[in-house]
């Protein structure tokens, strides 16, 4: 359906050649804009209606006081289903520390949360299919799990800013949200508006980049340099992802274009994860609570983990 819409606009209305680079790019762009935004509205609305989203305050109550492996398992899963604005990562970090949750577990949460969320998962299934979605989610969970454990090994407590330990969390007397069907519907609509407002630009940029890649990057060039034989494409993809920052959803159309052109699966996954979870702005925000050595370590652990994921999948693919 979306394919047909793309074809209608690109080839019938604009009279572009299907075989030309521009024609292919426009077709890709129209198709993905329609598909992704329709999926986005549906999934955000349904999620809002079900109130499946958990607030970080509730996550904290779930995780605190559990044995390490249980706490980590919950932090990773809850991180995957809890969306939070990256500007919340500082209060969230402090709140976790204050609850006595081990730092390694907190890092597991911070890794899982931007990389995996239900919106990105539904779009991934719609655009790239079940198989790749499963690979991405499993790899992401594994990175969050082991990344947190490795961080813990380095005793990151010594790099936490002193004031963080002194903060005490107050009791929140939260107002119960309106639970009637009308209230939920209103809340769901508000959520669609807010999340779309936050995402639309990232998604458009992602689709634009994907469209350009799809239309203008020659296939034989891709298979020669990005086909997976050359070991250095994976670290290159990870490095490329660090300055590039986007939302997990925005990077999906780029991955789509890369995969259809024959870029290796592992290389693509490494880039996706690096763009979504490893970003300079995010790191600078965390600088408010942890000092540079911990940040460098965090970036290093993630970079190594993404490379292992990339090489691993390129090897078995």
């Amino acid at each position: 359906m979306f394919d047909a819409l793309g074809a209608l606009i690109a080839f019938r209305l604009l009279h572009l050649e299907p075989a030309s680079g521009l024609g292919a790019a426009v077709h890709f762009f129209v198709m993905d804009v329609a598909k992704i935004f329709v999926l986005l509205v549906i999934v955000i609305y349904v999620m809002g209606l079900l109130r499946a989203m958990l607030s970080p305050e509730r996550v904290r109550e779930f995780v605190r006081g559990r044995p390490d492996w249980q706490a980590r398992g919950m932090a990773v899963t809850l991180g995957a289903v809890t969306p939070f604005c990256s500007c919340s990562s500082v209060p969230l970090f402090i709140g976790f520390v204050e609850a006595g949750i081990p730092l390694g577990v907190t890092f597991s949460f911070l890794i899982a949360s931007p990389m995996i969320n239900e919106v990105a998962v539904v779009i991934l299934i719609g655009v790239l299919g079940w198989k790749l979605t499963t690979l991405y989610v499993l790899a992401g969970l594994a990175v969050a799990w082991f990344g947190g454990i490795v961080m813990q090994r380095f005793r990151p407590e010594r790099w936490v800013e002193d004031y963080v330990w002194k903060i005490r969390l107050g009791e929140a007397n939260r107002v119960e949200p309106d639970r009637s069907l009308r209230g939920r519907h209103r809340q769901a609509l508000a959520e669609v508006r807010e999340i779309l407002r936050r995402l639309w630009l990232w998604v458009l940029i992602g689709i634009g980049v994907g469209a350009l890649f799809h239309g203008f990057v020659p296939e034989d060039w891709v298979s020669r340099y990005l086909g997976g034989e050359a070991w250095y494409t994976v670290p290159a993809a990870v490095l490329l992802g660090i300055p590039l920052y986007s939302n997990a959803t925005g990077v999906i159309p780029v991955a789509e274009a890369m995969l259809t052109k024959g870029v290796a699966v592992g290389t693509t996954l490494a880039l996706m994860m690096s763009v979504a979870a490893l970003s300079l702005p995010e790191m600078l925000i965390l600088r408010k609570v942890i000092r540079w050595p911990a940040l460098a370590l965090f970036a290093g652990v993630l970079a190594v983990a993404f490379m292992l994921v990339g090489w691993g999948f390129n090897l078995i693919a």
Partner: protein, 78 residues
Amino acid sequence: MKTFKVLGGGCRNCEVTARAIEQAAREAGVEIRLEKVTDMAEILGHGVMSTPGVVLDGQVIHSGGVPAPDQVRAWMQG
């Protein structure tokens, strides 16, 4: 006179929230005092971990995102 506090580390969503409250107050003709709280100790002191949060006369009435317009309007009543 209602006293509002917007809790948040100065991100865009916090700005949007503060402006929404100011505008709703103007439209309702309600006199308010609005304070933007960026100090982490105070934000967490209110028990809020996900910003932006909103405090009305000492009570946390919202947290974890930009509030919906009709929600903000409701705060001006009573």
